[in-house]
Symmetry: D2
């Protein structure tokens, strides 16, 4: 067990980098040492907010700085692999913005490198650290929902079109990491469709179905070209069903005591078999803690204890494999793509990390 | 041109039949002569409301009654073909609840029979007669939306599980008929996925992508097992975008002056190319007229004039072909199914039928 | 205890009368004998729906018909007193649409007449028979909300301007009857403000504050000239708070486990004293039964057993006294008007009438 | 015309002070020189964010600093008068958080002091600088709404209970300043009711009616003890009506082309006179600019040009007079309180300040 502060270097100070810096600056046990970006104006802004932090345009300055134990990467996806590999080779723990890399082959190499060097490799699947998703996972794990029938997510807004990845790698990655976190099972095949409405640009809208060994089916619709912001997820179980609306400021999760009742066997008369059950709705109170704060604490805890993170390299690999398969299926107009052999399971915590991060530490030990 | 009243017989007095009877009873130029159902209790209810109407358990009574010019069929899907065929053979015009029949082969035979006998064959695609869909068609036809990029529909609620058809034939049929009515183009392929969560029952949730020759893509999600009722449709165009929420009592259609602007060519630097445009939202006032009333008037007008209905046999055929292809694709986990040769185009009206039905009469002449 | 059917006559077949007829026609133990209206066209419509019922333009026909035991009055407010008095004098039980009469003096006379003749006099305070209000009453009676701090209702829409009463007598009467039903206490004073925006017409918007002996305060805003329909009620208690939105199709009632916590005494430092408590939200499932059905069953039960109805003459009197005081206060720009001596308490049931009306019968015995 | 930077001192670094500092720091033409608070921890936070700024616990340090031209006051209401008076006497321009002071007498003295010394005295009525309220003012000024019939505002949430003022001085002040800004007319009387539900604390809920010389009536409901956050305003005009919901992230303003039509004179038959008109709804796009930024620019522009601000001392005086009258009316259970002689009209800009603040400068010249 490590007792000193974990020194952090952050590369990329665009949209997400400032959030990483702010949260690591607020996390006990960590200290932001340096910020790297190739835009001098952005560096100047960061310097003004964090006068004690080193700013640099050279990523190698982070690699050489012995006070830096871990590097957080918030650069375009196409640069993730190269930067993460260099960081690992320099002996630094690594936290990479989602998705972990552009191909599963790249992710495999990063995972191997991290394992050989006994370093933490974690991917920033932010949503699994939100109070809402943690509560959903708790309800599913506790059996409150019963057998899970479906996950149905819609994630749409106007912008921001990405250059180097299509909308699946930008938006559906959130749902895939949530599905991975809340369901016990891994998908066996993917069918996806999509379209680009800007000549020469990657797909800006897509629909994605994930098949599981059970009758559970997950579906995700993503869209960069929606007139309104939609962040709706429907989760159906045999006992209860959830509507999770992330656009709502409060009552993000509503749990419905509704469903069907089945009497008799498949041979019975149909009409007599299926009944409908409608009970109360319940919206559990959720703590207000910022997901990235919980995540930063978890990363620091893992760096200090050596435990595998919830969203470690293997979790990142499975997500990227699904994204690869989905992109292939889109090119084939929905033709289903099998997901190869079952992955070595990502190490998973048994209990949801507590809001104060302490349970996370226990789990990591 | 026919001047007397059109005599109507209605078969099936369950969920939808009473609506047909009520609307034909309210339509100038038509008269409900007889109601047929095999449930004596339902017949008794109808008799109490419409004392002057003949009630019978024998469908052949309708066929033999010379006062009956047209038969409206509101029975389970599996009986549509047989009843419609018998009605046509007895020289009656026919209006059939959606979908028109269980297979495209059946529909083709009905279309042929109607043509040979010079009878009206119309399918009850109710939604295309709603003020909301008529306004959407008008906005698209007028060019207000620009090039159509996508149609994205979600139709979900708790129940009613059907015995003889899956959820696509029950719910997605609405969206397919809407798409057919508002878009100029016909789809060339279908990819669909779905699942059943009741052993031995047909699929209760499904997702359906329709590919068009252009970059337009339509997607429909349907679900009999949703904790909440959802009737949301997003339609994206190059100039404007529509959110159509049929659950809303008012403001069902919202038109957004939003979109992307593209500068330069595909070769230009990406970031400089794509901009976002956000303008006003506008919710056109919609008349309150019941869709089925407009539809009944249109059917009567076509019977009297001999004109082809908006939702005639060929429109019904195209919809059933898409449903067949979708069911096949579901069985193959999303494998895309081509839609055979381009259909002989269904006769389409150029202008939206007016609320008072008069324009419809003109069109039919 | 009376065993035969209760014969019903209904006077007024405009907006509300058809609902009364339909519900009494569906109520076991009652039979609609005759319908009276001075509009022949409306009578014709009723005859078509209820061929067995006598129709007449003469109210005296109802008074003279010995098969009629009770008369339901759904005519303009200005006619209530005269018709109800005549009905009572003819020995008929009476159910009057809200408000019971135009003045408290009129109500007092009706109450006296009914008492002398041992007849049921009930006012149609429909909302207290809704599943939503019955659930709210249950939650308050059970102590789930704790001490009641406030009732805050908003009832607005576009139309229907009344000729003979202002908006308080048309809309606020609903809230006043709800407040009377769910709170243990009677108001001691009223302050109201309002305005008319149509020259020569009664007030079309008004605001009404009811003071109670406790710190509880009730406030009602009503408006005939609102661009949107609003039916929102906020009820605050020391333990829980309710938002009741009657425009919602489902989840009409939301119960919030929220509030303030008070530490120390009034002398303590302020900031340390008041804390905020935010817990879960819960929306109880409500049965779908139509309020007027429950109400019709209750009226019939009272007629048969002789028990006092929940919304009897004394309840109607208190409501009209509040309306009178509010109208006076409006004329004086909010000047508070005391409510005279405490009323003889209206007889109140101890338990909420069950959906099936059986508890109501027990209570009435 | 002044050409150098306007030096700003900010006193109070609690809830609102940081927003003032941030916006003045971002405003061209101003420079934050010093921050004063009596809490050393808060000062430390401000120092970290703004290393170049002087921090002090002594207000007199601000008064003595010759680089400081203007002082922004964001302390509890009970301290406003003393601090503002000292600032004016030290020759500083002053911006005071709402309400301007605790009594109209105090405000009058501040207005006199500012006039004698030719200094800017402005009150922070933030809402009148929001894009939403500016758009509403524009629509009313342009005549789009026609004659204004009513303003109906609801402002409620859970917390924050204030110690030194009741809920009217904390929340209704926003609506009163909005009403003052968008309506041409000044109210002539106030009737208000309210209640306190925490022993010894000021009223935590209140309702307030403002009477105007015309038939226009304004009503405001405010509540610190609401389970949900409500920020809804309904504005009715003879031509159009507005629903302004500040809780919405987008489409805050909806303009309804709805209303009543009146035919004939007051003597005509009522039913024939009043008709209802329902047309389209329109939600104008609003710029995203932060209100406090526009306000800071306006304050700086006025300091530089010597022009009277939109929300100057006289506007602040009228608002405080209404608050005083409302508090008196609450104590008298709604008894209406006349507003004394018509105020000398506050100087008002003719056009809405532009988003970029340039029009504001022009207006001030």
């Amino acid at each position: 067990m490590w007792n000193g502060l974990v020194g952090i270097g952050v590369v990329g100070y665009g949209y997400w980098g400032p959030n990483l810096v702010r949260n690591f600056a607020n996390t006990d046990g960590s200290q932001v040492i340096a910020i790297c970006d190739n835009d001098a104006a952005k560096l100047a802004v960061s310097k003004r907010l964090y006068p004690g932090v080193v700013i640099t345009k050279e990523f190698t300055d982070l690699l050489k700085d012995s006070r830096i134990d871990a590097i957080a990467i918030a650069t375009p996806v196409s640069t993730h692999y190269e930067l993460a590999l260099a960081a690992l080779k320099a002996g630094k723990h690594v936290l990479v913005e989602k998705p972990l890399a552009q191909t599963s082959e790249q992710v495999r190499r990063l995972v191997g490198e991290a394992e050989r060097r006994n370093l933490i490799l974690m991917v920033d699947h932010t949503f699994i650290f939100t109070p809402a998703v943690q509560k959903i996972r708790e309800l599913i794990t506790d059996g409150a929902l019963g057998e899970i029938y479906y996950y149905n997510g819609i994630r749409a807004s106007l912008g921001l079109f990405q250059r180097d990845v299509n909308v699946i790698w930008d938006l559906a990655v959130h749902d895939i990491s949530i599905i991975q976190h809340i369901l016990d099972d891994a998908p066996v095949a993917v069918s996806a469709t999509g379209a680009s409405h800007v000549a020469g640009a990657p797909e800006n809208m897509a629909h994605l179905a994930l098949f599981f060994p059970s009758s559970c089916i997950a579906h995700v619709s993503v869209n960069w070209l929606s007139p309104v912001k939609v962040r709706q997820t429907f989760i159906g179980g045999s006992r209860k069903m959830i509507v999770y609306d992330d656009v709502e400021a409060t009552e993000k999760i509503k749990v419905y005591d509704k469903g069907v009742t089945i009497n008799g066997t498949a041979e019975s008369a149909h009409q007599a078999r299926i009944g409908y059950r409608a009970g109360d709705m319940w919206a559990p109170h959720l703590p207000a803690k910022e997901a990235l704060q919980t995540e930063a604490e978890h990363f620091i805890a893992c760096v200090r204890s050596g435990a595998l993170p919830i969203s470690g390299g293997m979790a990142g690999l499975q997500v990227v494999q699904i994204l690869e398969a989905a992109s292939q299926s889109i090119a084939e107009q929905g033709n289903p793509v099998r997901l190869r052999k079952k992955l070595r399971p990502a190490v998973r915590v048994l209990s949801t990390p507590e809001a104060d991060g302490r349970a996370t530490l226990d789990v990591c030990n």
